[in-house]
Symmetry: C2
DNA sequence: TTGAAAGCGGTACCAA
DNA sequence: TTGGTACCGCTTTCAA
């Protein structure tokens, strides 16, 4: 079935080594032979078996990406951006989704390690560090995306989430809102950072809100819109009603908006909304959504480039943190 | 660094073979030895090197998925569904995007073949058959998703697109529209099928529309919303203005809706819109979008199951076509 | 029930 | 410039 180096060697009456060297542009092969070999390779549509090559070189030209939810455009955009950069260097990317389940995530990581990927990208839903130790044991470089873990010195690419929360809340204050609520989610660092930023903005402007104004929706992103909807419903039963809600991400904001509109209230007249992520299509929504752009394209691109750099240097350099600048995108959901 | 079978064998003072067999539950190993081996494997967190295993068994436990646009929820939902099924059988999935570029697609396929994936899933942007012959040469099973190629006898999973087009157009007729336009895209089978269905519905109801009512937006899905917008703008300059537009997919419909609203016209009062795909979040849009659901979850799931079945049977069974039932989802964009 | 040898398809290293 | 040999980590086959 598949053509092997041996076949070509026999076919051409040279040794297997000649083929191997010609293929990789080894310097010590004559121009004539190389041409002849390459021509035959082309004709027979030969492709070296990467598994065999990996076995001896230790490089698989395979990287792994683990995201909490592949359908969330934030992550699929990151995946896409990473892919684009890696493709140019002939790397392939195994993409898996953990469905926001730490245990599943760990399984996937183990599976990828068994495959000896050259590098791992992880938007982790984990809180324990143990799994990462295992990655380090294998000396596989890895890069955390979007979410970081306290106490873990690892490569990280994301935004300054405290800044994100501050920016969003400040914007709401500046358009005159005072009863600003927040919908967050537990555990993951971006949500925690954004909550902290929200708090700082309120404090800085001397605004106090009822304790019930901070709600934490269950779990992670996987069903952000559905749980965002439910939590917003709860928020709508509180008096005084908030006049603004800052949501920790766009899908949650989407669900919240739906809940508000369902009740017959108006956005932004009655309640203004800010999301996070500037997910694709968020300007096509029922009410176009004001959001904090995290430039996910850039996150993916920078991550991929960092990965390639890590593989270049023989010794593992010490972990690098890249923080991208968040950017406020104002749309109708906060427009007067 | 990584623990190998040899290490465990030495550690336990048995032969490498004992480990290998214990690991795979080979019958001829004593219960005691097996237990002892498995325990140590657990402790050392040993994972067999899949590349090495692949080299000898010829099975990589790796499959490949090529889609035109990973950020398009239609495809990321399919990817997710495939992943879920495969994960249970310990397969990994390499996911790549062709960006609607046939040449890039071919490169990606070649790369995946070099990796000797066990099976390929392709939502192809190709029109030539040559690339598929190459897959067949390697005897790698493959499954076409969503888009099929005329003249290629291959496994296919998707919907009956002619039916989709018919259904959508019939719905517009039934709500009283007569000046029904269509925005399609060239080359790919779903778009062609839907156009045919559109034509049949008009014919069946004795409706004639100006030739200019059928517009083909450039290229594929990658920027459906942007090109949908542009093409709709053109459509809006035609007189008499259409009172309905059937778009070949949701992103295109999104762009078209934006163009209509920008002009100050109302949806559905002035122009009703139907899309295709029932992409996630399409009920949260400016005007919730009537669409034809293709059940992409099911496409992915069926595809993955078929793949596993193909790998089970020793001889390549003859190509199978699975057509899922399309389903009309009525929302505000066609509501009176 | 256990183990030794051969080999999967390549590459590294060294000899001719 | 070319080619032989060992070996990457594992499985298959067969002998002990």
């Amino acid at each position: 079935m598949a053509v092997r180096m041996k076949d070509i060697a026999q076919d051409l009456g040279v040794s297997l080594m000649t083929i191997s060297k010609a293929l990789r542009n080894h310097p010590d092969i004559s121009e004539g032979t190389r041409k002849r070999v390459l021509k035959r390779i082309e004709e027979l549509n030969y492709r070296p078996n990467l598994a065999a090559r990996a076995l001896v070189t230790g490089k698989t030209y395979l990287m792994g990406l683990v995201v909490p939810d592949l359908v969330h455009p934030f992550f699929s955009q990151i995946a896409n951006a990473i892919s684009k950069v890696l493709r140019e260097q002939r790397y392939s990317l195994v993409i898996t989704s953990s469905q926001e389940d730490p245990e599943l995530e760990q399984q996937e990581i183990d599976q990828l390690l068994a495959r000896s990927v050259d590098c791992l990208f992880i938007a982790s839903t984990q809180t324990a560090l143990e799994g990462f130790r295992r990655i380090e044991d294998q000396e596989t470089p890895y890069i955390l995306l979007d979410r970081k873990l306290p106490g873990l010195a690892a490569n990280f690419i994301g935004v300054d989430d405290e800044q994100v929360g501050f920016m969003a809340t400040k914007h709401l204050i500046e358009i005159g809102r005072r009863r600003i609520a927040h919908i967050g989610t537990p555990r993951v660092s971006p949500a925690l950072g954004r909550l902290a930023g929200y708090r700082r903005a309120l404090r800085q402007y001397g605004i106090r809100v009822p304790a019930g104004y901070v709600l934490i929706r269950p779990h992670g992103d996987d069903a952000g819109d559905a749980t965002g909807y439910d939590v917003m419903k709860k928020l709508l039963s509180i008096r005084p009603l908030p006049d603004a809600v800052f949501c920790h991400n766009d899908p949650t904001a989407l669900g919240a908006m739906k809940a508000i509109l369902d009740t017959g209230l108006k956005i932004p007249e009655d309640i203004a909304i800010v999301g996070c992520g500037n997910v694709k299509y968020s300007d096509c929504l029922r009410v176009p959504l004001t959001t904090i752009d995290q430039d996910c394209e850039a996150i993916g691109e920078r991550a991929a480039k960092l990965a390639l750099k890590l593989l270049d240097s023989k010794t593992l350099p010490r972990p690098k943190t890249i923080l991208l600048k968040p950017r406020l995108v104002v749309r109708d959901s906060t427009r007067r």
